[in-house]
């Protein structure tokens, strides 16, 4: 090794963002937690879709069959798979803070926002692919197992394609919300508690409030706003599919934005 007489390549004009992307993809695919969270998400989605298709129609009255949201029903597994996506989003960054790996990472790439951007990009693509897969698989499995034609739908029906794809979008943006919180909070346990808490607790609290309050803020809660994108029929007072999704995206954007600010300010 000739340490001294060697061309220096370390301060080239444009560092490659592709290198950081490849590094982050390597990290994501080289730990088991990625696989088990994603597999668990797909299994939950598909499993609950099958169970819902087999058992629910027989329990519904004629009126309920008219009013129930068949897409929401087929995507019922999202209530479980959302946990997996939120946790994976958090772990993408907070597993580095928890283990101390973040110091190695930031020593290799001192441009910290590049690291966070690469993490978000790699996670977005992965989550979109798996989220869409989980969502469409659940939809088709639900259709296949349906014992009753009254809940049957086709992707060509108005709003159905949007709602099924919406399941994948919801899971992806939820994961990004987790990633943002992970970047803000740091430690895995705290960040997972925060993302699940913010998702699941506010709807319960809202129910305890006077209805004039809960009617006002209810539609804007992350869970309520975000879930409109995978609903075919919207409950009264809730936001529309895309306006709700826009609000949900805003949560992710705000937390990620705060993460971008904090990661440069904080000692690693």
């Amino acid at each position: 090794m000739d340490a001294v007489a060697r061309p220096r390549i370390s301060h080239g004009p444009l560092p490659s963002f592709t290198d950081v992307l490849r590094s982050e993809l390597c990290k994501l695919r080289s730990v088991r937690s990625t696989y088990w969270t994603l597999v668990a998400a797909v299994v939950c989605n598909v499993g609950l879709a099958a169970l819902g298709a087999i058992f629910v129609p027989g329990q519904l009255s004629g009126h309920e069959k008219e009013t129930v949201d068949p897409i929401r029903l087929s995507l019922g597994g999202i209530h479980l798979s959302q946990v997996a996506f939120a946790v994976l989003g958090v772990l993408v960054i907070s597993s580095e803070y928890s283990t101390g790996m973040i110091r190695t990472t930031l020593s290799a790439v001192p441009q910290r926002r590049r690291v966070l951007a690469a993490k978000a990009a790699v996670f977005t693509v992965t989550a979109l692919v798996v989220g869409m897969l989980a969502s469409f698989a659940a939809y088709f499995v639900f259709q296949a197992f349906l014992s009753d034609d009254s809940l049957r739908s086709s992707l060509g029906d108005p709003g159905v394609l949007r709602a099924v794809a919406g399941g994948g979008l919801f899971l992806t943006v939820l994961g990004l919300f987790g990633l943002g919180l992970g970047a803000i909070i740091g430690g895995s346990a705290d960040a997972i508690a925060a993302v699940l808490g913010l998702l699941l607790v506010p709807p319960i609290v809202a129910q305890l409030m006077p209805s004039s309050w809960s009617d006002t803020i209810g539609p804007y809660l992350p869970m309520h706003a975000g879930s409109q994108i995978f609903a075919l029929r919207h409950e009264a007072g809730m936001l529309g599919a895309w306006s709700g999704f826009a609000v949900f995206c805003a949560y992710a954007v705000v937390t990620l934005g705060a993460g971008f600010v904090l990661i440069n300010r904080r000692d690693a």
Binding site: V4, S23, K27, G100, S107
Partner: protein, 310 residues
């Protein structure tokens, strides 16, 4: 070359590093010495741009670390061997790092072989012993074939074989012309490994010196002589300004002179010497003397409590 100028880090009311200036030149092993909690790790994190200095600055080969686009080619650092994702294999850990700096897979294989981990490259690092984790951290530091290397307490927790390995690696890296900066609180290790010393206590620079000068500079260096004509020798030495103390065992302890002088004086005057030896305190003794006032925590019997390292 690492150059720190007025480096200061304050955590709330605590000054972890206080106006620290020093230079780590290439081609030598520079030991970074100080009691636990003296600010060694904080200083190393500031060198790597992980912690922002409250005041002052530090450069590596003339530039702040954060300006390097592919810093692994410039600086390799092992700060904490356990700071890896335990679920990732040794190979994947190094590959992920390598990719971020445009380093190829062949180099990953090379450093794995260099540290002797090639047979366990596919194993998850969470199951590694501390010695293996240190080797993995060292492999990461060597990935970019950097000109500057930093190791924070590299021999902590290593078995004798691991200690020997680190020691010879560090020396060979310096012999290749690289800058090597090595922190430790183990004096005996420093005495063997380091050429230069940067000694800190309570975040402040106490001494920046060579190991040789540091050991030779003490007032407690003396020459020990045994001679049947001790009285004559005493007179001759005192005429030259040396201070001679006759010990109960009839030897002479001479300060302010040297073995060469005493030997020459004895020969010129035909005096028989039965013993002539130079006595130097160990690095540990010199260091304890120097840092007595700056050690953060003492127990009643004078031994040191270990504050929690960040």
């Amino acid at each position: 070359m690492i150059e720190a100028t007025g480096l200061t880090k304050r955590y709330g009311a605590t000054l972890a590093v206080d106006d620290l200036s020093f230079t780590v030149p290439p081609g030598q092993v520079t030991g970074f010495l100080g009691p636990n909690g003296a600010g060694k790790s904080t200083t190393m994190r500031m060198i790597l741009g992980l912690d922002a200095p409250t005041a002052g600055s530090v450069t590596v080969n003339g530039r702040p670390y954060a300006e390097y686009r592919r810093p692994l080619h410039e600086v390799g650092a092992l700060l904490d061997a356990r700071a890896v994702h335990g679920g990732r294999s040794a190979y994947d850990h190094l590959l992920c790092l390598a990719l971020s700096n445009g380093i190829g897979r062949a180099r990953v294989d090379h450093v794995l072989a260099q540290v002797g981990l090639h047979t366990v490259a596919g194993k998850r690092s969470g199951g590694f012993s501390l010695g293996m984790a240190q080797r993995l951290g060292t492999a990461a530091a060597l990935l970019g074939d950097p000109r500057v290397l930093m190791f924070d307490e590299p021999v902590n927790g290593l078995d004798p074989e691991g200690v020997l390995w680190i020691r010879s690696l560090v020396k060979s890296l310096a012999a290749e012309g690289r800058t090597v900066f090595l922190s430790s609180h183990l004096m005996s290790e420093m005495a063997i490994t380091a050429d230069r010393l940067v000694i800190i206590g309570n975040g402040r620079l106490i001494r920046e010196t060579t190991v040789e000068d540091f050991l030779g500079s003490g007032s407690d260096n003396f020459v020990r002589v045994r001679s049947p004509r001790g009285d004559v020798l005493t007179t001759l030495l005192e005429e030259q300004g040396a201070v001679v103390v006759r010990q109960p065992d009839d030897t002479l302890s001479i300060t302010g002179s040297s073995c060469d002088t005493v030997g020459e004086l004895a020969r010129a005057n035909g005096l028989t010497l039965q013993e002539l030896s130079a006595h130097q305190p160990t690095l540990e003794q010199r260091y304890m003397e120097l840092t007595r006032d700056s050690v953060g925590y003492h127990t009643a019997d004078g031994t040191e409590l270990t504050p929690v390292e960040r």
